[in-house]
């Protein structure tokens, strides 16, 4: 396992160093891309020196947390309800399977008209992106509860609440975790995309602003921040997810 880690780290480090060299040797010119070391330096400058940085970070983070909460809780509840009614499931199936194939974010201008330009439109946008991944994962997770567990519940005469808490929840946990990871990923994408297109505050908006001002330093500083955040959250949730999968399938 550690050999895998070593390779991963060296591949990533290798690409960063290669990029650094390409920029330093002016094979990639300064107007196109900064060397990664300068991006990090710029990020420190921005984080310390600018008055908007922390309020914008807080704004974006708050929106992400709200959107994730709505999509995870809402998606779970809708998933449970849809799974309980086969007819409803058959009706909604075409929506869920083609949902991520349509460019949802083109609804964003409509959301602004509905909810105004502000956090609410962004949160709804992020939740719309994330919720269906959670719904689909919840339905799949309930489908995969082993029959034998339900028999165990019946044999030991567990009431429905206990069956849900003691058997169904642990059995579905790995697949729910997959749904959670996807919902978080999609919510982040939705919110940053929304901010990038049109917003009054937020890190995504700052990227768009600095791009329009030809302020490459700020733009790249914020870009690596967003990329590192998204990749970091994804890596963390993947690790948790794999842990759950392993624990469940070993025992």
């Amino acid at each position: 396992m550690s050999r895998v880690r070593l390779w991963q780290i060296s591949i990533i480090a290798g690409s960063v160093i290669a990029l650094e060299l390409l920029c330093r040797l002016a094979i990639i010119d300064r107007l196109t891309m900064l060397p990664p070391s300068q991006m990090v330096a710029a990020l420190f400058d921005v984080a310390i020196g600018s008055s908007w940085f922390w309020p914008d970070v807080r704004y974006t983070l708050f929106n992400i947390v709200a959107a994730v909460a709505i999509s995870v809780i809402g998606g779970f509840l809708i998933g449970v309800i849809v799974h309980a009614f086969p007819r409803l499931r058959r009706l909604t199936d075409p929506i869920f399977t083609s949902y991520y194939s349509v460019p949802t974010f083109i609804l964003y201008p409509l959301l602004i008209v509905f909810f105004g330009i502000g956090p609410l439109s962004l949160i709804v946008m992020g939740a719309l992106f994330g919720i269906v991944a959670m719904i689909v994962a919840t339905i799949g997770a309930i489908d995969r509860i082993p029959r034998v567990l339900l028999k165990v519940a019946r044999v030991s005469k567990l009431d429905p609440v206990r069956t849900a808490l003691l058997l169904k929840l642990p059995a579905t946990a790995p697949h729910l975790m997959t749904g959670l990871r996807l919902a978080v990923t999609y919510s982040i994408i939705g919110i940053i995309a929304g901010e990038f297109i049109l917003a009054t505050a937020g890190i995504g908006r700052r990227v768009a602003l600095s791009y329009n001002d030809f302020d490459n330093r700020t733009m790249y500083a914020l870009l690596i921040l967003i990329l590192a955040f998204a990749a970091g959250v994804n890596a963390l949730l993947s690790t948790l997810e794999q842990g759950l999968h392993r624990r469940w399938y070993r025992s």
């Binding site: 058959r90 009706l91 460019p103 995309a193 870009l223 990749a231 890596a235």
Partner: protein, 246 residues
């Protein structure tokens, strides 16, 4: 389930969506939404107009190139990382992380590298589609039954023959799933590309309608895009079901 109940289901679904649309219209008013009938009429007008098809063609060309890159690149990466266990262990998490980043923020970078025009659109579309195709292919190849792989080794098949006659048929259903998701992501990427920096294509007329606040145009284009994406998706789903059944 018989064909008749399925058709009934689709009718019910369409009716429910129409009702939701009307209710939203009642709630939000004509500033935000256009009602169904004028929207459908507007779609008819758009389709009858000559220069609309020019924009469709621009989008289609960019989408075609981007899909080709995503497909070939994704399959190549997928086969390389799927067939080699160690390479897969190293590469797959990196690909998942790349898939998870909000690529829309990379748009300025793509523009700085490729400049305005079709190459930026193509690059952006391919960037969206490449990772799902690669990830699904890796998954599909990894799940190939070890007995089949051993058989190939015993028969001393060359690498190319192994891929062609063992991996490819065995992994086909899941690869088709990856292609379906890859195609839709590529379309999404191409459209985003047109939205922000382009002078032709569906995305361009959409952003122009947004700027001029032509609600009817926005709704008509949105509906057309949804219909196209959902239709293409349904078609690929049918192919996928057939592949899974075999």
């Amino acid at each position: 389930m018989s064909a008749r109940t399925r058709i009934l289901d689709y009718c019910l679904l369409a009716a429910a969506l129409l009702v939701v649309w009307m209710l939203l219209f009642e709630w939000a008013g004509p500033d935000a939404l256009s009602p169904p009938i004028p929207t459908f009429r507007r779609i008819g007008e758009l389709l009858a107009r000559g220069n609309f098809w020019g924009h469709v063609e621009a989008t289609a060309v960019a989408f075609g190139y981007a899909s080709l890159i995503a497909l070939v690149g994704g399959l190549a990466i997928g086969f390389a990382l799927g067939a080699n266990r160690f390479a897969g262990q190293v590469g797959e998490p990196i690909l998942t992380s790349l898939y998870a980043i909000p690529k829309i923020t990379l748009y300025p970078v793509i523009l700085l590298i490729f400049g305005l025009g079709i190459s930026a659109k193509v690059a952006f579309g391919a960037l969206h589609g490449l990772f799902p195709v690669a990830l699904f292919t890796i998954g599909a190849i990894k799940n190939t039954s070890p007995a089949l792989i051993k058989t190939a080794r015993i028969l001393k098949l060359s690498a190319f023959e192994t891929i062609r006659s063992v991996y490819f048929p065995a992994a086909m259903p899941e690869i088709v799933t990856g292609l379906r998701i890859g195609f839709s992501s590529t379309l999404l990427g191409t459209l985003i590309g047109e939205l922000f920096a382009s002078d032709r294509g569906i995305g361009f007329i959409l952003i122009r309608a947004m700027e001029a606040h032509k609600v009817e145009d926005i709704m008509a284009l949105t509906l057309l895009l949804f219909a196209f994406a959902a239709g293409a998706n349904a078609l690929l789903l049918a192919v996928e079901h057939r592949a899974h059944r075999r």
